[in-house]
């Protein structure tokens, strides 16, 4: 009898994390896999979580940070995670090409989040000056954006040295390389601190007609088909959190730093502001946060097809589904 009590107690203890006080409605358990470690880039999700917006939407959400060895598309396709904030249009293309059953339900960054940075006092003033220079970049898509930009200036692969960029921007700071790739919200902060804002010159892909939307919200095809209301509820709560984070950046950073207190606050505040700009740019201004700007996605698709990053044209109507967003009134989506 005693043992049975003990077992029951142990069982209850083991299960108890899953039993939540019953609210007005039953909650659906779900997880969100981020594309990267906890940082202000994801502030809106943390605000929505901490303020209970997901619970109000009927979702008991757990946020799982990403990491260098994880591919969000795989985790969502395999069902390990319900929602994903994945790399971007590029990784969605790649996943769809591999027949991974994932669907993009929203796009967070409307503009290309990275730029190519040189020294303002250096020899590079225009794209044509890249000839013969050493460039480091990420070989996960940024390399093709750069190739596309340089092709417009009449440069081809052999005209410069392109190397994979490691974690640190220090080689650029130490003048070992001429051009470094930086996201506007992250590496650029480190560069500003070490080199100085006025000593940097940025080459922006969007200024050269290449827009490469990134940070895509994905779900599995099964979730999209069987539980569309949940996807819409998730997006609604997410947008609610983001609208607050964008209005009050400090509160957004607070929400992030309550989870990751060792982060550097000035860095996170800079990230909050810069990532916010990417979110409200382009089509999001008129159509609201997380808008899937079809012509831009199409252009990115065609660009990748032209550079043979993807081998065959993809069915973009199936890969990008705006219906979950469109179920939310536009007034609630505008930042």
């Amino acid at each position: 009898m005693n043992r049975r009590h003990l077992l029951a107690a142990t069982g209850a203890a083991a299960v108890s994390p899953f039993i939540r006080p019953a609210g007005a409605q039953t909650l659906t358990r779900a997880t969100l896999r981020l594309k990267w470690l906890t940082q202000a880039q994801f502030a809106g999700f943390y605000v929505a979580l901490q303020k209970g917006y997901y619970r109000e939407a009927g979702i008991d959400l757990t946020i799982n940070p990403g990491g260098p060895n994880l591919l969000t598309e795989n985790l969502v396709a395999s069902g390990a995670d319900t929602f994903g904030l994945s790399g971007g249009t590029d990784s969605v293309f790649a996943a769809r090409e591999r027949n991974l059953p994932i669907v993009c339900a929203g796009v967070m960054h409307q503009q290309t989040p990275f730029v190519f940075v040189t020294r303002a006092d250096g020899p590079i003033r225009t794209l044509a000056d890249f000839r013969g220079k050493t460039i480091t970049t990420w070989f996960t898509g940024a390399n093709f954006v750069l190739l596309g930009m340089l092709a417009q200036a009449g440069l081809s692969r052999g005209d410069f040295t392109m190397q994979p960029q490691q974690v640190s921007v220090q080689p650029f700071v130490d003048r070992q390389v001429d051009v470094v790739t930086a996201t506007r919200y992250n590496e650029f902060f480190t560069l500003m601190n070490r080199v100085g804002r006025d000593n940097l010159r940025s080459f922006v892909p969007d200024d050269h007609g290449i827009t490469f939307p990134r940070d895509t919200v994905i779900v599995s095809e099964q979730t999209a088909r069987d539980r569309p209301q949940m996807v819409t509820a998730f997006l609604r709560a997410t947008i609610r959190g983001w609208r607050e984070a964008l209005r009050d950046g400090k509160a957004g950073v607070d929400a992030v730093m309550s989870v990751a207190p060792t982060l550097n606050r000035p860095h996170q505040e800079f990230m909050m502001e810069e990532a916010g700009k990417l979110m409200v740019a382009g089509g999001a201004a008129r159509n609201g946060l997380f808008w899937i700007d079809r012509p831009v996605v199409q252009a990115a698709h065609d660009f990748f097809l032209r550079h043979e990053v993807i081998k065959t044209p993809l069915d973009l109507a199936a890969a990008y589904n705006s219906s979950f967003l469109e179920a939310i009134p536009l007034a609630d989506r505008i930042a």
Partner: protein
């Protein structure tokens, strides 16, 4: 003053000396902070958010200990089974060897799919790195027992179980402890690598965050925590070895 207290004092003196040398060298040679920050700066960073480091230390310690304990238990049982059933050894040991050739990074991605972002996922990776050396060393230790000693006990009427627990297992202990000391550091590596697959708490998370934010002070703070944990755990295993294998193994 007894010998243990003296040894502890000497150790403390050494640590303080190393700290002073670190601080002095950085100041004296003007080493740039993003190459090597001053020790005092690192300690100040830990003191600024002690909760995060303490929580990380506890979490990683728990993952390490669970993985290590499971790896030790399974490894010793494996060793015993393989010792008693050579056929099974010939069938399974090669499979174990193959399992160990899978890079832990590749294995980690799978573990996340299977177990999610749980403490158990990290413990499984720690286990994965620990159980193999323990298996091999247990088998090695058991095989190195002089068969004539076993024969002698048997002639006195000892049962196989008695021979195992009174002769073979004790004789194998020095070998097993070699694997345990190895496993102490391996299981910590496993837990930290496991935390690189997306989590909120742990020394590995702090390491990763600091690395990708290029926050060198935070990176060193996490390294110090990992070193503290690794050294502490190793010392614990070494202490257990001295107590259990009292007849003197290699120290």
């Amino acid at each position: 003053m007894n010998a243990t207290a003296m040894a502890a004092l000497r150790l403390l003196g050494g640590v303080i000396l190393a700290g002073l040398v670190w601080e002095g060298v950085v100041v004296l040679f003007g080493i740039r902070p993003h190459l090597l920050p001053r020790l005092s700066e690192i300690l100040a960073a830990i003191a600024f958010t002690p909760g995060a480091y303490w929580a990380g230390l506890q979490r990683t310690a728990a993952e390490t200990l669970i993985g290590f304990a499971a790896g030790t238990a399974v490894g010793i049982v494996n060793g015993l089974v393989f010792f008693r059933a050579p056929l099974l050894r010939d069938m399974l040991l090669p499979v174990f060897v193959v399992s160990q050739t899978i890079p832990v990074i590749a294995f980690g991605a799978l573990v996340v799919m299977w177990f999610g972002n749980t403490l158990m996922a990290k413990a499984v990776i720690a286990f994965y790195l620990t159980f193999f050396p323990v298996t091999v060393n247990t088998l090695l230790g058991l095989n190195s027992v002089d068969p004539r000693q076993a024969a002698l006990l048997r002639s006195f009427g000892a049962t196989p179980t008695q021979i195992l627990f009174r002769l073979q297992l004790p004789m194998a202990l020095p070998q097993i402890f070699v694997a345990l000391r190895l496993g102490a550091s391996l299981s910590l590596v496993g837990a930290i690598v496991g935390e690189w697959f997306g989590d909120n708490t742990g020394i590995g998370v702090l390491l990763l965050q600091a690395m990708y934010n290029e926050s060198v002070v935070a990176l060193w703070a996490a390294i110090l925590c990992a070193a503290l944990l690794g050294t502490g755990f190793y010392a614990l295993v070494a202490w257990a070895e001295r107590r259990i294998v009292f007849w003197g193994a290699e120290q």
